[in-house]
């Protein structure tokens, strides 16, 4: 069986699932954000795969490039917030941050 | 003023409210005088309306017709016919008297009177509006002042009563909103062919189309409207907001609540439900009569069980509004004229009763029926006035309540024989609770606690006597009011019942 679109998509789906799992379970905020990166990579892989097999152009690549840029920006802001959290709460455990509820 | 009479009646109180709102809070007396003036204007205009109203036509008069929102065919359309004129008169009169009755309010005077004036504007608007949208707006506009009037100036459980009133009424009116929209999309303006909110167009079955041709849709809309109005009337089992609201509201507000607001439910049925869905109205005749009978008897029995004077009067309203329903369900001239006359009469009589309860409450600071006794000797004038009101409520001949009740029965009997017979028991039970209360409060040995209660004041008498005169005059000769309404109502019933 030749490696085709479905193979890439499956890998991406696995990455997505792993990312989701990380997001749902990791208590460490930084580790949690790594899960987000996994999801974004899964999406990116899709884009590139589709560009290769469906579109044939480079639009998918361009999108993926933008996503990488935005992921960087997002990571910057998110990590800044984690740092602020660490400074205010003395921890990066998201479980401990639950003052707002009801 | 003459050519915009209805607008002036509706918006004069608003102007008054605006002036009061702009007035510094320390001018309490001036505030009251302005309020009195702002309600006197509609009253005088109402007199003019009464004199100039053409009693020979069923059509709308004093109409004012302007485009309001062009893109949705919403119009500013006012007008009155024989159905609305008595209600307008009632509103103008009671509002004015209630301002006088509220003279001793000294908590947040400014707010009280400006809200009261807004309330009057809303009521006037409901009775004058001929555009459904406009009608709905006025209908809802009353809620706000009412809510605050009960909630701020009310009794101990005012918060509960106010929100209960508000929730109930809103629940009813949102159903009406949906019915209104359904009408809008399925009624054609015969001139332009577009959708319309014009009630007169909605009443013409020839303009109906779309889903309005489906019987089950019509029934659904009828039920929506009916529940909306029934809550206001209030029809059993939607009535439980009423005792709470009445009891907790300040006197003048109870008067307005019972005297005018309850009428809006039946007015809405006659103005909207009946002519717009005549087939459903005829089909709903028997349930309506049964509900009327339940209201009459249930209200009366509940009234008998009360120990709070105001609550008793409140339940008596439930009972008396049952007569209106019964008369409306008769689907004949006598019945419907009796029903509308009963609306008017109940407005005046119950107003007297609430004012009277207010008088004693101001003095004794409670309303427990069992806490009084023998007041007849201490307060002879007050006793006479209250007894007058109570006997009017009992339906004593010579007073207006009798005429309308008798007309209701005469009208309903051929249509709903058994139901009418059962309802007629109401005249016995009705007398029972009233007389029992009379006995406990005014007769018997004097309660020494109340040796120094002052007699009713001139100002209070001023609020009661005009209504009393109306009650008496209409009891002896009811035609002045019947003449106003009969042509329109006969036309209505011809349209509905053929």
């Amino acid at each position: 069986m030749t490696v085709g679109l479905e193979h890439y998509l499956t890998v991406s789906a696995l990455l997505f699932g792993l990312g989701l799992y990380a997001v749902l379970t990791r208590r460490n905020a930084v580790a949690l954000l790594m899960g987000v990166e996994l999801i974004l990579n899964a999406a990116n892989l899709n884009f590139v795969a589709f560009a290769r097999f469906v579109d044939g152009g480079v639009e998918g690549h361009i999108v993926a490039a933008f996503v990488i840029v935005l992921a960087a920006a997002e990571a910057a802001v998110a990590l800044a917030i984690v740092l602020a959290m660490f400074r205010n709460f003395g921890t990066v455990n998201v479980d401990t941050v639950n003052r707002l509820k009801r | 003023m003459a050519d915009h009479l209805l607008s002036w009646m509706t918006f004069a109180p608003v102007i008054g409210a605006a002036v009061i709102a702009g007035l510094p809070g320390r001018y309490k007396d001036l505030t009251k005088w302005i309020a009195a003036a702002a309600t006197a204007v509609p009253l005088l205009l109402a007199v003019q309306l009464f004199l100039q109203f053409d009693r020979t036509t069923a059509g709308m008069q004093f109409t004012e017709h302007y485009t309001w929102i062009k893109s949705f065919n919403i119009e500013y359309f006012l007008g009155v016919d024989g159905l609305s004129v008595p209600m307008v008169l009632l509103t103008a009169l009671l509002s004015f008297l209630c301002i006088i009755a509220s003279w001793r309010i000294d908590k947040a005077v400014k707010g009280y009177f400006s809200l009261f004036l807004l309330l009057e504007a809303g009521m006037m608007g409901v009775f004058c509006a001929l555009d459904f949208f406009l009608f709905y707006v006025f209908w809802e506009v009353m809620l706000l002042p009412m809510y605050f009037l009960i909630g701020i100036w009310g009794g101990p459980r005012k918060e509960y009563a106010a929100i209960k009133f508000f929730l109930y009424t809103l629940a009813g009116s949102v159903l009406m909103l949906l019915a209104m929209i359904a009408f809008y999309y399925n009624v054609k303006d015969p001139v332009t062919g577009g959708h319309t909110f014009n009630m007169l167009h909605m009443m013409d079955q020839a303009n109906h189309g779309g889903i309005l041709d489906l019987a089950n849709v019509r029934f659904a809309i009828w039920m929506g409207l009916f529940i909306g109005f029934a809550i206001k009337v209030p029809v059993f089992p939607f009535h439980t907001w009423l005792p709470d609201a009445h009891v907790e509201a300040p006197t003048a507000v109870s008067v307005i609540l019972a005297g005018v607001l309850l009428k809006m439910g039946t007015y809405g049925l006659l103005r909207i439900s009946y002519p717009m869905l005549p087939d459903q109205a005829v089909g709903f005749m028997v349930p309506m009569a049964i509900l009327g009978a339940i209201n009459i008897l249930y209200g009366a029995f509940c009234a008998m069980a009360q120990t709070d004077m105001k609550k008793l009067v409140a339940y008596s309203s439930v009972s008396h509004m049952g007569y209106v329903l019964l008369g409306m369900s008769a689907m004949n001239e006598v019945g419907i004229n009796g029903a509308v006359l009963q609306m008017f009469n109940h407005g005046t009589i119950t107003a007297m009763m609430f004012l009277c309860v207010g008088v004693i409450y101001d003095r004794a600071h409670h309303r427990d029926i069992n806490g009084f006794g023998g007041l007849g000797l201490q307060l002879p004038v007050y006793t006479s006035v209250f007894s007058f009101a109570l006997f009017a409520a009992v339906g004593l001949p010579g007073l207006s309540g009798f005429v309308s009740e008798a007309m209701v029965f005469i009208g309903a009997f051929p249509t709903h024989r058994t139901i009418t017979i059962v309802s007629a028991l109401g005249i016995v039970v009705g007398a029972a609770y009233v007389l029992w209360m009379l006995q406990r409060v005014f007769l018997g040995e004097k309660n020494a606690k109340y040796d120094s209660l002052p007699e009713i004041s001139a100002r209070e008498l001023f609020t009661l006597v005009p209504i009393g005169i109306i009650v008496l005059v209409l009891g002896v000769y009811p035609m002045p009011v019947l003449d106003l309404m009969k042509v329109s109502l006969n036309h209505l019933i011809k349209v509905v019942a053929g």
């Binding site: 997505f16 990312g19 997001v23 905020a29 949690l32 954000l33 987000v36 999801i39 974004l40 999406a43 990116n44 899709n46 884009f47 589709f50 579109d55 361009i62 999108v63 933008f66 996503v67 935005l70 920006a73 997002e74 802001v77 998110a78 917030i81 984690v82 602020a84 959290m85 205010n88 709460f89 998201v94 941050v97 639950n98 003052r99 707002l100 009801r102 | 309001w68 929102i69 062009k70 893109s71 949705f72 707010g111 707006v137 809802e140 706000l144 809510y147 605050f148 909630g151 701020i152 918060e159 106010a162 929100i163 809103l170 629940a171 949102v174 909103l177 949906l178 929209i181 359904a182 999309y185």
Partner: protein, 489 residues
């Protein structure tokens, strides 16, 4: 079909350009004149006003694609530009007198105003995106700025927590949405809305894949408009963030999210309706959203949090109009969004104004405000009534149009659920009114001075809320004009 951007395209892109320019200028101004936040404030305010003035030009324009075909400029875009400029102006005025933003110990005041300018521009772009890439980019720009603004009070535990939750929820949602976008790209082989639309019309995609795509996309979009079940962040963030920011969030990004959804779904997903009944899907979510929002709001005692839930409920109402796929529904949404912006900002402003002196958002501390601060309380009543949807306020008209659109399309059950929800909402809005008027203030209740600027702003919000309830023809025309050339219909 290569569309090469042209400088002249900027002519149709002026308000955004102005806002982004204001952002850069404000940053620059803040760097040059330290500790004088009035400079960035003035720059951004001027920018917002200029953008507002410039926005009216495009109302009647038919759709024109610019900047490489990635952005559409039409009447609806113009309407949202007007809306966002107005929101920006109001937010600026609200923030300027707010202790939470302008308190003595606060830092980065200049950057705060710059971020408002940036977000406003970003929201405008959201309303104009017509390409999956732009959809994602514009969303991300607004989201990133939002995270920062939520955490603006960086020493506040509440604010930090809010921004943390916001960023986690937001990042995951947008990631999931991106995944959905990638699948959509795969199904249709196109990134532009029109390309996707054509492919879908040609039969691309089977029910399951389209359903999955829809749901994944809704994760990202629904999070922006706080739709159940993607609403969870909203109450926490609204409560934790500085109140002016919450006020801004509750109207700005929400409206932008709707703008984005409207353009995306109306343009691209319409042909897919036969394979995936996303209208029903959204109807269910709409019911869930308004019901949940209203029911939970009933139990709140923190006014800010209460308003947060109420804004969730309002998203539910708006969704009703959204799924109608008619011009009427669209007009109703536009109308409602503007009215909602007025009244919700007003209600939040009241909380902010009180927070300055009261230092409390707890409902109990509002006791007797009707007499302690009668005019402000009266205006709050106007906002609350409008939020409930009672005449004669603009909120009623907005709801009326929504319900009318729903009824016209025959979704009667939805309309009934909607009106019943209005009744429920009355209960908690009146809870505020009740506390302010029916509950006696404690004897030692502090005075509640209200900043003059807040007073003025409140009047500026309350007056139209009331007047639009009496005569709304102009606004209705505006909404009608905005959608007249909306080609997706």
């Amino acid at each position: 079909m290569l569309q090469i951007p042209d400088w002249s395209d900027l002519g149709g892109f002026l308000p955004e350009t102005v806002m982004f320019g204001a952002f850069l200028l404000a940053l620059l101004g803040d760097l040059v004149v330290r500790r004088r936040p009035v400079v960035p404030f003035a720059i951004v305010l001027a920018g917002a006003l200029a953008a507002l003035a410039l926005s009216f030009a495009g109302l009647d324009a038919p759709e024109r694609t610019i900047l490489g075909g990635l952005v559409a400029v039409d009447g609806m875009a113009a309407f949202f530009r007007i809306l966002f400029s107005l929101i920006a102006v109001a937010t600026l005025l609200i923030s300027w007198a707010s202790e939470e933003i302008m308190g003595r110990t606060r830092e980065n005041k200049g950057e705060y105003y710059a971020l408002i300018a940036l977000m406003t521009g970003g929201m405008m772009v959201m309303a104009e995106a017509r390409d999956l890439l732009m959809l994602y980019l514009s969303l991300e720009l607004v989201s990133l700025s939002s995270y920062v603004m939520a955490g603006y009070m960086r020493n506040s535990l509440r604010a930090t927590e809010a921004s943390l939750k916001y960023v986690i929820f937001g990042a995951v949602s947008s990631g999931v949405m991106l995944y959905g976008l990638s699948l959509l790209y795969g199904l249709t082989g196109s990134l532009t809305y029109l390309g996707v639309r054509d492919a879908l019309a040609a039969g691309a995609g089977d029910p399951l894949s389209l359903l999955t795509v829809c749901v994944l996309l809704l994760a990202g979009l629904g999070y922006k408009i706080a739709m159940v079940p993607f609403h969870f962040w909203a109450p926490d963030v609204y409560e934790g963030a500085p109140t002016p920011v919450s006020a801004f969030f509750s109207v700005g990004p929400k409206a932008a999210g709707f703008a984005l959804m409207i353009r995306f779904f109306y343009t691209t997903m319409q042909p897919a309706v036969d394979r995936v009944d996303w209208r029903l899907l959204i109807a269910v979510l709409s019911v869930a959203t308004m019901t949940f929002g209203n029911l939970v709001a009933v139990r709140q005692v923190n006014v800010k949090r209460l308003l947060a839930y109420s804004s969730i409920a309002h998203a539910g109402y708006l969704l009703m109009g959204f799924l109608m796929l008619t011009a009427e529904g669209l007009q109703a949404i536009l109308f409602y969004l503007l009215v909602y912006a007025l009244m919700n900002l007003g209600a939040f402003l009241f909380v902010i104004a009180l927070n300055n002196s009261l230092k409390s958002e707890h409902l109990d501390d509002y006791a007797g405000l009707g007499f302690r601060s009668p005019w402000a309380a009266a205006m709050m009543i106007v906002f609350l009534f409008s939020l409930t949807g009672l005449p004669p306020t603009a909120g009623f008209i907005g709801k009326f149009y929504l319900f009318a659109a729903v009824m016209h399309e025959g979704w009667y059950w939805l309309a009934i659920v909607g009106v019943l929800n209005s009744v429920v909402s009355l209960f908690y809005y009146m809870k505020i009114a009740r506390t302010m008027y029916f509950t006696k203030a404690p004897a030692d209740a502090p005075a509640v001075p209200i900043a003059p600027l807040h007073y003025v702003t409140m009047v500026l919000l309350a007056a139209p809320t009331l007047l639009l309830g009496l005569y709304w023809g102009g606004l209705k025309d505006l909404a009608d004009r905005a959608v007249q050339h909306f080609t997706a219909l």
